[in-house]
Symmetry: C2
Subunit: 333 residues, 2 copies
């Protein structure tokens, strides 16, 4: 690794190392998001796909496949599959959350309408489905079908768990797996499967993706109560205003006094939020060390992700994946 | 066939003939719509799945497989798959169309909310995907992936074509294939594929489903301008109020005088609809024989569906499928 490379973020190093593959992925994405008859589809998709997203999930698939010595063409299909599923999920999420901004830009549901977001999301799901069928691997299809079901179930669970103070860390983990970790772990696992890697390596890739995804989401939850708008593209307190039971809140609620519980019931369950409530919520989380404890959990998951990599071949990509796990939690360390 | 059976509608005869298989399908549907963690999912799904729908699509799959001599278990999986895809599509459609009634009952988006309809629809798509992977047939997966893409593309196309007088019969056919025929043809085709029927029979099953679906949709369009609410579960003129370019309207617009075009532009493109406009639209369609011409098209598609059946084995199910094609168009004959 050159000195220049060493100074780059792990994500950028992955991008540089996999630049050729990533170009093929981008070409495939552009080709498959086209629709001869319904120009609304590429319009809406381009808005999201070309919004400068980090392409983290397709990079994970490419890295996993290459790390396991894959030399065929289908890791590109799988990387595009994973990005399409992710984009489709974002489109539907923004409808469900009534979001107005994503990655610092207006959301598709705001620029077009909810109808377009729902239907173009469905279209991208079906396109991702076609791409994975092209790999001819039933095992890959099985993994992605199960990931899709976990994602959808997690989203519905989040819908009902939001606003419910009875949500505990077990439910939280299920929601997070659906929201983030299921696609991360499917992304890494299918990379190993398409490379026909030994079973212990495939399992290790699954574990890495799962733990990385959970760490990633906990960090996201933490930043919502402390990150600056420009770094995360959303406003501090968005989760609070949407009455989401994120990890720091769950930890604070678990230790709340009777008076504090009354506060949480009012702002989260009843949704009766007033001036100063966000600050009060943050003070309660600080009082019970909820932010600290959530941070420790994130570090634990990152450590688990790194430990899983030991089963994989020694390779520059393995080092980058390890650094990536550190980097994800460095935002809150 | 007994006299009693002869008096039954073809759809009921199919149900009776395939009752054992259909029981297995219903059991599988109930099993797979369950969700341990998100009770909202079976609630919403049961509302639709148990609303007394005709189960026409799963019956087509079962009939196609049995007609081709299938003796294995996977036609049941495929029939459940097709019903899940259909139900998911209905959930998303009702959000997109802002519908308040479906099969004479309030829609899920009205009883719960749009969020639940979007996410439970996604969940059912992913469950259908798991079911089809279980068949282990890549060809079946390919057919259903392509059908999903056609469905989604057709829905987006309908969204943009809906208020555009330039929509011609070619675009209409693409919308109808997406809306109805793609799932009908996939339903029959996968039945033949799972039975490992010869290629000409698989093609015939595809053609039958495609033509039946198109006939079905044209009849639906016609009934919207003339059926009674109690038979179709929606109100006369719903399509008109939603400014949909259905076949009779397209035919009337194609023959419109300048003055008539101004009327269509106002009511369909601008959406400026007043008292008496529905009656005026129906008078214009009558003047140009648009209803008659659309009816003739529907009869033509039904005839094509029946003709395709000639390639299939002589079997009581084949006769029922033939009668079904007649029955679909009998509603407007």
């Amino acid at each position: 690794m050159s000195l220049d490379e060493a100074a780059m973020k792990p994500h950028d190093r992955l991008s540089a190392h996999l630049a050729g593959d990533m170009e093929s992925v981008n070409a495939l994405i552009r080709e498959r998001m086209a629709s001869e008859h319904a120009p609304r589809i590429p319009e809406v998709t381009a808005h999201l796909v070309e919004a400068g997203g980090k392409r983290l999930r397709p990079l994970l698939t490419l890295a996993a496949a290459r790390l396991c010595g894959y030399g065929g063409p289908y890791h590109v299909h799988l990387a595009a599959t994973v990005e399409f599923i992710h984009t489709a999920t974002l489109l539907h999420d923004d409808v469900v959350d009534e979001s107005k901004q994503r990655r610092g830009r207006p959301t598709a549901n705001l620029l077009w309408d909810n109808k377009s977001s729902v239907l173009v999301g469905d279209y991208l799901f079906s396109r991702s489905f076609q791409l994975m069928v092209e790999t001819g691997s039933l095992r890959v299809l099985d993994i992605l079908a199960n990931a899709s079901a976990t994602i959808a179930e997690g989203e519905v669970l989040q819908l009902t768990a939001a606003q419910d103070l009875a949500t505990d860390e077990g439910v939280y983990l299920k929601v997070v797996r659906g929201k983030t970790a299921a696609l991360f772990s499917a992304a890494t696992e299918v990379g190993g499967v398409i490379a026909e890697a030994p079973e212990d390596q495939v399992r290790a890739l699954y574990t890495y993706g799962d733990a990385l995804g959970i760490a990633f989401q906990i960090v996201d939850d933490l930043l919502d109560y402390g990150g600056a708008t420009e770094t995360i593209g959303k406003n501090v307190g968005d989760d609070f205003r949407e009455r989401k039971l994120t990890l720091p809140v769950i930890k604070a609620v678990a230790q709340a006094s009777e008076e504090e519980r009354a506060f949480w019931r009012r702002v989260i369950e009843k949704g009766d939020q007033r001036e100063g409530d966000l600050e009060q919520a943050m003070a309660l989380m600080a009082r019970h060390g909820a932010m600290e404890a959530a941070r420790a959990d994130a570090l634990g998951w990152a450590a688990r992700a790194k430990a899983a990599l030991a089963a994989l071949p020694d390779h520059p990509l393995r080092a980058m994946l390890s650094d990536l796990a550190d980097f994800v939690v460095a935002r809150v360390s």
